[in-house]
Symmetry: C2
Subunit: 257 residues, 2 copies
């Protein structure tokens, strides 16, 4: 697993370097579900490049990618989950606050996760049997503190939905922040910049964070506290494991969502 | 004016360097209006240091500071508007995304403004008769594009207030972002990372941005399009001047706020 983990870090960093070089290219931009859901030719190119490198080296493994046409089950065999550019809108408009995300599973068990904040050149990596690092700095486990000593990552849209309990949690905190990249926001939870992050996300958005958080005392769950389906889009919360009961209580109305 | 402008840049950069050195100090934190409205001993110390340096060198000038007990009128004489740490909560929790803000007025006319993004080491400076720079990179004027090609800076709280027109504008855009520092968000408007920023702000939060934006085609206004009072807390929008009519139309309900 060590060689595979080193290989994964290397290809993600190379993908980030490629994106930095092409930051000011003319982009071919397409709409996916609506005018705010964008994909560029670079999302597709990076996805293909990562998948091709993985399959060349590990021909029996399979790929579950944001920009893939076909996706394997995450629960069978050796599966690489790829989000080539998490925060595509930021990539297009801001040229910052976007990430390359990679997670590796064997029969549904996360072995390692990688979140690469490309413009800050910060590689969050580890999970499974590996310690969790920001670059070469070991990340500490969560030390308990109340919500009122932290900040909550949440989009304005999710905050404004009265039927979710999310707003109640956010209002117990020092305030909310919204960065436009789930991967980067989850990384901010790992470093304490955010105490928790609420998102409406796909498996490729949250798989790496879920694996990275485990040994540091963070959980990626549904609002009612149950396990994620790892299929389609779901409301998810990434938070300190010791806070699950507090959030579950507030979010009981979310159970039926 | 050149010497004053150079002096202003120097003391702001020194204040930023001081804050970087004291980033991990034990902070004395006090609540102002409620548990989310915080001030540290470093806000006060930086405010005093800046004020003392200004008055030593320019004894006839006066100070209008966030942490001042007495504030001069902004419309009479030579007035320095200081926010020693804009984004105090970020400073406390995140150790990033905070700014030192300075604006200089003569009889109510802005002569120059400075926003210093301390951790990114980016000094936005200029306005009045000075060109506007990010460090030594000249910033371009706004080039017209529709809201749907940009991002809107707004807090979740302001977005969720149905009686404001802000949500309507935000929903015409690619999405919203919230960084927890008005000064840094206004700077993001100047660089195009945000198309506009909506805030409930005090003069020390927005004075520098208002001066910086003028020659680049940006305006700092009330939601109904009228001029700011530069007194107390007000709902403000920093946006491309060519977009004022579009926002005014949506925000007619804001007139009576």
């Amino acid at each position: 697993m060590d060689a595979k983990y080193a290989f994964a870090q290397q290809i993600v960093k190379e993908a980030g370097a490629f994106l930095r070089q092409h930051l000011h290219d003319d982009l071919l931009i397409e709409e996916k579900t609506d005018f705010t859901d964008l994909v560029t030719h670079l999302d597709k190119q990076v996805q293909e490049e990562l998948a091709q490198q993985i399959i060349s080296r590990y021909p029996d493994d399979s790929i579950y990618g944001e920009e893939s046409e076909q996706r394997s089950s995450l629960f069978q065999g050796k599966v690489w989950v790829i989000d080539p550019i998490d925060g595509t809108t930021n990539f297009i408009v801001q040229q910052t606050d976007f990430a390359v995300l990679l997670a590796y599973f064997e029969d549904g068990v996360g072995q390692f996760g990688i979140i690469y904040d490309v413009m800050q050149d910060k590689l969050y990596h580890g999970g499974g049997s590996f310690p969790v690092y920001e670059n070469d700095h070991l990340l500490p486990s969560f030390v308990d503190k109340p919500f009122k000593a932290g900040l909550i990552g949440i989009s304005a849209g999710l905050f404004a939905q009265e039927n979710l309990g999310f707003r109640t949690i956010a209002e117990k905190s020092l305030g909310t922040r919204s960065y436009g990249s789930a991967g980067i926001s989850f990384a901010h939870v790992l470093t304490g910049r955010l105490m928790a992050h609420f998102s409406n996300a796909f498996p490729w958005d949250y798989a790496a964070a879920a694996i990275l958080g485990q040994s540091l005392g963070y959980s990626l769950i549904r609002p009612d506290g149950s396990q994620l389906a790892y299929e389609g889009r779901e409301l998810v919360i990434f938070l300190p494991t010791v806070k699950i009961d507090e959030v579950k209580g507030v979010c009981e109305s979310c159970n039926s969502l």
